[in-house]
């Protein structure tokens, strides 16, 4: 097979690759949303003054969650979730929720620590000023501390999002189903087509790599755009 023929084959399959990239991005996007929400909640629990037993218990729970999730491989978490905890999802006609939840829970642990570091970096005077005006701890967190913390952790959050987008490639270890039809993520598609046309395997892998790279470069551009916007807001 000449190089031109390989490229022609790739061109023929462009629709399938585009669809699989779509699934990869959908999983990553859903996971980022879930991870961010979990991250904000967990970081606030971790940072809250341990004044009553409920918060103390929640804090223990958050610490355990962060330790376990950060301490085990993403692929293992995905397979456990797929094969046991969410076994009913496995039989559902569309099971995209399995990887979205698995990666979301995974990312939440990292986001929690990122956002916590951002909150710790905010001057305690901001909280004191809010409290001295009669605002509750949680209102001051919501209106003053979290917005500032998020701003300072934008680069680190994007780092996590970029890692997450690439990490979704392990989803090819499970069977994705949409409307009872089997589907593939980007790497899964490259592997599947590579098996069907071994001569083109390497070209497909390079193509998948190029698409991941393009997505990450777009994300980086978005990050810089957001950082500039946030800076402008302060001037």
């Amino acid at each position: 097979m000449t190089f031109a023929e390989k490229i022609a084959k790739l061109w023929e399959l462009r629709g399938l690759f585009a669809e699989s990239l779509g699934y990869s991005l959908l999983i990553a996007f859903g996971a980022v949303i879930i991870g961010f929400i979990i991250g904000v909640i967990m970081s606030v629990i971790r940072i809250a003054p341990k004044t009553n037993p409920v918060i103390k218990a929640l804090d223990k729970l958050a610490v355990t969650y962060i330790t376990v999730i950060r301490g085990t491989p993403t692929l293992v978490q995905l397979l456990i979730l797929y094969n046991s905890v969410l076994v009913s999802f496995k039989r559902m006609p569309t099971n995209l929720l399995v990887p979205i939840i698995a990666f979301g829970i995974n990312s939440g642990a990292y986001m929690a620590e990122i956002i916590r570091s951002g909150i710790s970096a905010i001057d305690v005077g901001q909280m004191e000023a809010g409290r001295s005006l009669g605002l509750s701890w949680i209102t001051t967190m919501r209106k003053i501390i979290i917005p500032q913390a998020i701003k300072t952790v934008v680069p680190t959050i994007f780092n996590e999002i970029i890692i997450l987008v690439k990490e979704t490639s392990v989803v090819s270890y499970i069977v994705l189903k949409v409307n009872n039809e089997q589907k593939w993520d980007l790497l899964g598609m490259a592997e599947k087509q590579g098996l069907a046309t071994p001569a083109c395997y390497l070209v497909f892998l390079f193509f998948a790599a190029a698409l991941y790279l393009a997505v990450v470069m777009l994300l980086t551009a978005l990050q810089h755009f957001i950082e500039r916007r946030l800076k402008k807001n302060e001037r």
């Binding site: 004191e128 409290r131 001295s132 005006l133 009669g134 509750s136 209106k143 003053i144 807001n233």
Partner: protein, 302 residues
């Protein structure tokens, strides 16, 4: 409890092993201007921060407008001590009630959990009769910080209207109108939509003061409001504080500005080693200090 707007009673504050306040009591009447002086580490800022519970006192009570902001401190209430099991157990005929109460206080003999039903009931009923949630109290106690602490993520106007609107004390329109009027009074109307990072220190502190005023406070606490300012900006902040004093605001000011104290204060408290060492009119404290600590402090700052 006796007509004071703010009263602290028997206040102790420990930071770990460090005793910062060692039994401070004082009352501030409505409309009174009190300046608190003292060397650094004397506990003056901690006392001020205890008044609105930014620091939680280890022992003692803080009262605001006849409302108790702290948990009940049983050692301040002889009738509660008398109801305790400890008191009953230790009571002997050759010891007067007052002596025993003093002994229990001194040796910290009360154990919350083992003092019996009567004691718990008294504690609870006293708490219920007087307790006020700290957030409600703080809404009426303005505080100005050394480092301004304007909200960095909000514009000047948003800084000012956040609390009154969030606490549903005012509509957004009413709060905005009041904020703009206050900004007009300090000549900073044009900064309404600026962010704090674009302001000078003096501007920040003046805005921090009017941000507190947006809550229509009954008392203003100032924690070294000019200490972090460049010298040329101290004047504008003190000027605003004087105007506030002339308008009749109750003020408690921790500062090193002796000139301000002389001009504005009705009473000066001098703190040393965690207690109020001297208290009196500016003339009494400045011209005729009694304690060696006050003499030394005044000779170093005057």
């Amino acid at each position: 409890m006796n007509g004071d707007l703010v009263e602290i009673r028997g206040l102790y504050k420990y930071f770990g092993k460090l005793e910062v306040l060692k039994g401070v009591s004082c009352g501030i009447k409505k409309g009174e201007k009190v300046v608190v002086l003292g060397a650094s580490g004397s506990g003056k800022s901690t006392m001020l921060r205890c008044m609105n519970l930014l620091e939680k006192p280890t022992y003692g009570e803080v009262w605001f407008d006849n409302n108790l902001l702290t948990p009940v401190d049983p050692y301040l209430h002889p009738d509660i001590i008398k109801a305790s099991n400890t008191f009953r157990k230790l009571k002997t005929p050759d010891m007067s009630d007052a002596e025993l109460i003093a002994k229990i206080k001194k040796e910290d003999l009360l154990h919350e959990k083992h003092e019996g039903k009567e004691y718990s009931a008294l504690m609870k009923s006293f708490h219920k009769a007087h307790y006020l949630n700290e957030n409600l109290a703080r809404a009426k106690m303005g505080m100005v910080f050394q480092h301004f602490n304007l909200f960095n993520n909000l514009t000047v106007l948003q800084n000012m209207i956040l609390a009154p609107v969030e606490l549903k004390l005012k509509t957004k329109e009413a709060a905005t109108e009041q904020a703009m009027e206050l900004l007009g009074k300090i000549g900073l109307t044009d900064k309404a939509n600026s962010y704090p990072s674009t302001l000078s220190g003096g501007q920040k502190q003046r805005i921090a003061i009017v941000r507190s005023l947006c809550m229509d406070p009954e008392v203003m606490l100032f924690d070294e409001p000019t200490s972090a300012l460049d010298p040329e900006m101290v004047g504008e902040v003190l000027e605003l504080m004087k105007r506030l004093a002339d308008a009749g605001m109750t003020m408690i000011v921790v500062t090193h500005e002796i000139g301000f104290a002389r001009e504005v204060a009705d009473r000066v408290l001098f703190m040393a080693n965690g207690v109020i060492a001297e208290s009196g009119t500016p003339a009494e404290v400045f011209d005729d200090p009694k304690t060696p600590e006050a003499k030394q402090f005044l000779s170093s700052v005057l």
